[in-house]
Symmetry: C2
Subunit: 189 residues, 2 copies
Amino acid sequence: MDRLVESTRELLWERGYVGTSPRAIQQRAGAGQGSMYHHFSGKPELALAAITRTAAELRAEAERQFAAPGTAVERITAYLRRERDVLRGCPIGRLTQDPDVMADPALRRPVEETFTWLRTRLAAVLTEGRDRGELDAALDPSATASTIVAVLQGGYVLARAQNSPAAFTEAVDGALGLLSTASRTPRSG
Amino acid sequence: MDRLVESTRELLWERGYVGTSPRAIQQRAGAGQGSMYHHFSGKPELALAAITRTAAELRAEAERQFAAPGTAVERITAYLRRERDVLRGCPIGRLTQDPDVMADPALRRPVEETFTWLRTRLAAVLTEGRDRGELDAALDPSATASTIVAVLQGGYVLARAQNSPAAFTEAVDGALGLLSTASRTPRSG
């Protein structure tokens, strides 16, 4: 059952939803048709299991940085700067470009929930930072959180366009630069 | 010739490169095979003409906001807030998800050049704002420009994930909020 889900994840990544056939999933998993249909009603259920697992991994990885000690900006910096396979892209964000996934509310749901979770979690980190006096009181945690998630997703787009991870890095650097101008530093009057 | 390029643009948008056949282009343009091959050597050349035209339109539209009167932040606000068909997405950014376009250096070039132009142009607007004392002297115009372009591209991704333009608007609002904290306002010392 685990191999079926893993094979579906790989195929969704490589070929998209429309290019992933139940037969290809069985072949890659080395599973028979009977075994597959014993566990899953069909391709939509397998795809849902695959996307749900990818989403859970993404959250767990992000939570490691969000829950770490440090100021809000330090934790967000660790999150934005952590090692990524930039040219490969975001396994969840990429699904927004798969028309078959977006057209099925059940498959779109984990994608939507992942981004909602990310924005909510980042907003909580920013609110903490603001309440501790690390960040400007005028900063809107919720909108800023959306901006940070967008910078990551857009950074992947720019990196693909330039065929280089440098464009991603520059977008992240700019976001951290802006965030640092919103950090309350002692000012001489 | 113009109808052939327009038909290629529409088909690239609707079906992607691999789904756009020379035959479909001819049919949509109401052109014969002879006419098509009189003007274009084949699908790659038609696609290049289509992408180049889309890129030129995108630049012309953006330049309208960048070249307008006003402060740097005012012009960037007008650019980010101008009316967009958000759920449709960016016609250039979307090409980065088309593996056939990205695999062909000739087709990737106008995509890369468009983003390079956008970043360079935004960096010039930000540099102007910094030099006029509107923006914090510590602001890095080049990195900030990348961030702004990434916010737009990532905003489209978030909007598709939520199936709502609101996510795009929130990401833009957050970026403008950060930019306003980097604006030099009179401070009481």
